[in-house]
Symmetry: C2
Subunit: 166 residues, 2 copies
């Protein structure tokens, strides 16, 4: 595991999304079928750790690319929420609502086959914070070995998706 | 549905992958937990149709981005297999083994939120065919509306993944 912080003290952004926006298959805490990815600040970088299921295979022994893409995607939207919240002077636990972001574009370079069976750690850097847009670059590791690189442009969820709810 | 061809006459590339390489969560016919995406030629374009599960939500009412990325990913590796097989003078049903490709890079632009509940049709164009590499551009539609664009660089599965099996 690449957690540097005891789980006792970590706050995960997905635990602060409003209930209406907590159903995502990738990271919604209320989606019992989903991956329930959890993302936290570790200094200025963001971290998510996910243990793949045996069925998340590509060719046997390796993780299928769609899972890596899903982890990069939800890790990045979570990171974008954290970045916008911090930009506005907040940290998780403050009473103000946490913004909910969605993905405008996703890019993943598969550096090498990702072995299946160990936790997958995604580490993100906030590259750019605009008014409604955040660019996140991520690296995906298994047992310390870089397996993939990602870049996501995340934006605040538009009213067409949220129905104007916040 | 956007099938132009009766399903009775369609051959899907994933049905011709060797058993050892048919466990992918996205498109393996032997992975009972997975998506079992199926890809076929329609003239010079490739097509896959997938009906999302209710849990494949992002914000309620819309498909989560990781599923779109997974569909583009497996649609593209399937398309790459078809393209390499045709380049070598074969069509599905020939006795020669179908090549198995994996993803080197994946890019998805989310054009608009993808509504959840209807079949998702991915249509691919073969942009470039190299010796071991194929570039596939895809468009993702729901009810005829373009929701996402994808570009994948797919390559023949390396021996590090296949153990040298073909």
């Amino acid at each position: 595991m690449q957690h540097e912080i005891s789980a006792d003290h970590v706050l995960f952004v997905q635990d602060f999304y409003p209930d209406d926006f907590s159903w995502c298959y990738g990271c919604g805490r209320l989606n019992e079928h989903g991956l329930q990815l959890k993302t936290y600040w570790n200094g200025d970088e963001t971290v998510s750790v996910y243990v793949p299921r045996p069925e998340h295979t590509a060719i046997p022994g390796f993780v299928y690319g769609g899972l890596i893409a899903s982890l990069v995607d939800c890790h990045s939207t979570g990171s974008a929420s954290l970045a916008l919240y911090r930009r506005d002077g907040h940290e998780l636990g403050d009473p103000d609502p946490v913004p909910r972001c969605v993905t405008a574009s996703l890019k993943v370079d598969f550096v090498k086959p990702t072995p299946l069976g160990q936790p997958i750690t995604t580490r993100g850097k906030i590259i750019e914070v605009g008014r409604k847009k955040v660019v996140v670059q991520s690296e995906v590791f298994v047992e310390g070995v870089l397996c993939a690189r990602g870049e996501v442009v995340a934006v605040l969820a538009p009213d067409t998706m949220t129905g104007g709810r916040k």
